[in-house]
């Protein structure tokens, strides 16, 4: 399958194992598919063990256990032990709900390398409201235990219109909890967050202020704590290099065994995602039509096709292109060379000039839970 005009095939360095879509929280910006309730048939332990072994053979080195809430899986300990044996660097990406001291200790013995705990906000009320559960105190307790057991700890807080003004408190909380890294991740608008974007997209003024504060703390905390601040790309003029290119380094395995080039890709029409129950990871990565679909640049249209920057951003995010232009092969409209960019700017203006109270009155926030998901199962 060698095409001389395409660069040599990369390795799936990053394996994201979405162990389950079950989750005790209900974050309205969750990146799981809207119709997650459709996928009930989870891979069993042996299925996951095979995925771990095959992907490692293909060159995967970073492994993320995520979901849903990966702690829901009672076989997590087994999977962690196997990943250490195989030589992965394993990351547990969790809300902290479902964790306790004995599990933290067991994971450590099994060889887990790192724990990332997410918070919804720095104050209990907002945190619990957004997560749809009383989880704040428990998360704080878990974050302290993660450090007590000497793990590197990343704290992740998804930033949006309703918590962005508290960014300083959020950063102070992470300092207080002794985080090694902090990810202040602006909401990406697909899945549940797209549905709730009027409640979530911050205004330009909010963003400018938050950015200044985050930058200030980045300087202050240099050498002690790394702060990563990802701005919402709706405000940019060049798209992000989504997933570092389709089928280039990322491999997501969804709870039912579907292999995805990106955890959001499931929504793209016309693609069928190969399942690890039917195919080897090697075939999926190297040969499957879906992983080859947006590889390289042969699929590109103008303006990307003749653009010198196409090797830098790969034309942006396929999901964003699909959601905002109706065609996944278009340039990501975040790019100001895209003929759809003006529409995006107008949409952002419309969303952010509507006061939050009005947006809430127009339609309440839709929480990510099974009941709401069933409405999207057709």
């Amino acid at each position: 399958m060698s095409n001389p005009s395409n660069p040599p095939l990369g390795k799936p360095l990053w394996l994201l194992a979405e162990l389950t879509y079950r989750c005790p929280l209900q974050c309205p910006y969750c990146s799981n598919p809207l119709d997650f309730a459709r996928y009930k048939d989870e891979l069993d332990t042996d299925g996951w063990l095979r995925v771990l072994r095959e992907a490692r053979k293909m060159g995967a080195a970073q492994l993320g256990f995520s979901g849903g809430e990966p702690l829901v899986r009672q076989d997590l300990e087994i999977l962690i032990a196997e990943s250490r044996k195989l030589g992965y660097y394993s990351n547990l990406i969790t809300s902290g709900v479902g964790m306790d001291e004995s599990r933290i200790a067991t994971f450590k013995d099994a060889g887990l390398d790192h724990i990332q705990v997410s918070f919804q906000a720095s104050n209990e009320e907002l945190n619990n409201y957004l997560g749809g559960t009383d989880s704040f105190q428990h998360k704080v307790e878990m974050a302290r235990l993660v450090k007590k057991y000497d793990y590197p700890m990343v704290l992740n807080i998804v930033i949006h219109r309703q918590n962005i003004d508290q960014i300083e408190d959020i950063i102070k909380m992470t300092i207080d909890l002794n985080a090694d890294y902090v990810e202040l991740a602006s909401t990406q608008y697909y899945g549940w967050s797209k549905l709730n974007e009027a409640h979530l997209l911050p205004t330009r003024e909010q963003l400018a202020r938050a950015e200044a504060i985050a930058h200030d703390y980045q300087v202050r905390m240099k050498g002690r704590m790394k702060i990563l601040y990802v701005v919402p790309d709706y405000y940019e003029t060049r798209p992000k290099a989504c997933m570092n290119g389709w089928g280039s380094v990322f491999l997501t395995i969804a709870p039912d065994g579907s292999a995805l080039p990106c955890h959001a890709a499931r929504q793209l029409p016309g693609l069928s995602f190969p399942n690890v129950r039917d195919h080897s990871i090697e075939w999926i990565w190297n040969e499957s039509p879906t992983f080859n679909h947006f590889r390289g640049d042969a699929w590109m249209k103008e303006p990307c096709r003749s653009c010198p920057e196409k090797t830098k951003d790969f034309g942006g995010c396929r999901c964003q292109a699909y959601m905002l232009t109706g065609d996944a092969a278009n340039a990501d409209p975040v790019c100001d060379k895209s003929p759809h960019h003006a529409e995006l700017v107008a949409m952002v203006d419309r969303l952010t000039s509507t006061p939050l109270a009005t947006a809430i009155a127009d339609r309440p926030l839709v929480f990510r839970n099974t009941r709401n998901s069933k409405e999207h199962v057709t």
Binding site: A61, Y89, D150, D180
Partner: protein, 95 residues
């Protein structure tokens, strides 16, 4: 950070990082939360000798006997300084 790298300094790999040989990449890599740095051949040779017991001077001696005739003092020091700046290394505190 180190201003002038002292030969008696004993570096260790910072707790956030794990060094390992990656067969698929045919090189040493440093793994850390959600990331990986690939190390070139000489960087790998240096890093794999950093065990929290060996001083910079002893490390250079060891490398010299492994690669006889190669003038490597300055390169090794420069790399170790970079590694400190990157946060990959910490000092072993004298007891």
């Amino acid at each position: 950070m180190t201003d002038a790298l002292s030969p008696t300094l004993i570096p260790r790999i910072a707790p956030l990082y794990r060094l390992q040989w990656e067969e698929a990449q045919a090189c040493h890599v440093l793994l850390y939360p959600e990331g990986m740095v690939k190390l070139g051949g000489s960087a790998g040779e240096i890093m794999k000798r950093i065990d929290g017991k060996t001083s910079v001077a002893a490390l250079i001696e060891d490398l010299k006997s492994a690669f006889p005739g190669v003038p490597l003092d300055d390169d090794v020091k420069t790399f170790i300084e970079t590694a400190y700046t990157q946060g990959w290394l910490r000092n072993v505190e004298p007891k």
